[in-house]
Amino acid sequence: MVALAAHEDIESILALVKDPEIPVLSIADLGIIRRIEEGEDGRVAVVITPTYSGCPATEVIEADIADMLKLHGVSDFEIRSEISPAWTTDWITAEGRRKLEEYGIAPPASKGKAALLGHEGVICPQCKSTNTDRVSEFGSTACKAQYKCLDCLEPFDYFKCV
């Protein structure tokens, strides 16, 4: 049971690490922590996965995880990155989706494949209208597209499905 408690500790420490580009989300909300492994010698391995291949936040996130673990007295650890299975927006938690919407970013509308094929019903995070239009497939970060609401006229970011 000691190991389990320690595992939960690591999890709660990691929950304090924010996404550097969308700081309302923790990396746990984003679903990029794949596993926490604890060896019998007490060494901790944190396995994460990148969101996009070229996402510049990935290296910052690794450094932030290391800093946060050290800050909480965990010194014997390694951080590994795995690309398979590939990250999907389906791994963003319900809590993460709620935080995104409150922050003014429309959360991914539907499960991966349908959205990839372009069948999206993007909801305006301001007025909740579905009468929205895509301005551009690409936005301020790799994971976002630009939309506008045709009812309240607000432009907004949309977290793309992948």
């Binding site: 996009y52 291949s53 551009s136 497939e137 690409f138 301020s140 790799a142």
Partner: protein, 252 residues
């Protein structure tokens, strides 16, 4: 060539395609016709750069001579590069950039889709991840081909001219040499000739919707698999490799 040499060469082809096109797209930064496109082209370039890093890191490990992704990107000369000639062609105007992008996106989408089933797990993982990004790239360039082709007289004319100018660089995508054959035989690589029908189908549909004419297959240029490139690659490398070559031990 040993099996290992062939896998190394194959991974270079994949990585170099992504890296050189990504580098070309980065040239648009601050110059695109509108802000949204400036963001789009650089975002796509960044995806490609990320893909290149994964392919080249793996290539370096396969080679086993201690070369990492940076060593491969910054310390190879033109004859050692394996990217398609298409991808090193200059950006030209926006229509030329979109023509190059559309034909390659349509190819890379099918290539990654097939590579995601590779018997090489690491390669399959990179392809599966990259395919998600390429899906958006293809959708973006497809939208522009239709919008410009089926747009004003001027946009139509420029789009058609761009397609005609690049057409002869496309057959190289579907070439197979001894390395490709060996990779297919091992279940690692893709038989690109088998992608041709699907590529033709997609491209023909989009060109028809864009009211553009598919050019005749009257000329073709090739050579990348043997390291024979157009003069443009040298200029790309001169710019891309300058800093690490001038200051080889520089660290951030």
């Amino acid at each position: 060539m040993t099996d290992n040499d062939m896998l190394f060469d194959y991974l270079l082809r994949l990585g170099d395609n992504s890296l050189i096109l990504g580098q070309r797209l980065a040239e648009w930064c601050g110059h695109a016709p509108m802000l949204e496109e400036d963001l789009a082209l650089t975002n796509i370039g960044l995806d490609l750069l990320g893909q290149a890093r994964m392919f080249l890191s793996y290539a370096g490990e396969v080679e086993g001579k201690g070369r990492d992704e940076d060593r491969l990107a910054y310390f190879r000369d033109t004859k050692d590069w394996r990217n398609l000639l298409l991808l090193e062609q200059p950006n030209g105007d926006f229509a030329a950039t979109m023509a190059r992008q559309f034909f390659f996106d349509s190819f890379q989408y099918l290539q990654f889709e097939a590579l995601a089933r590779s018997s090489d797990e690491r390669l399959a993982g990179i392809a599966a991840k990259s395919l998600k990004e390429t899906t958006y790239h293809r959708r973006h360039s497809t939208d522009w081909i239709i919008r410009l082709g089926d747009g004003t007289d001027e946009s139509h004319e420029k789009m058609q001219r761009a397609i005609d100018a690049i057409w002869g660089y496309l057959p190289e995508m579907f070439d197979m040499d001894a390395v490709d054959d060996a990779m297919v035989a091992d279940g690692i690589g893709v038989d690109v000739t088998a992608l041709r029908t699907a590529w033709d189908g997609y491209v023909n549909d989009v060109l028809a919707e864009a009211t553009l004419i598919r050019p005749e297959d009257s000329w073709s240029v090739r050579g990348s698999r043997d390291g024979k490139h157009s003069e443009h690659l040298g200029y790309i490398l001169a710019e891309m490799q300058f800093l690490p070559r001038a200051y080889p031990d520089a660290k951030w």
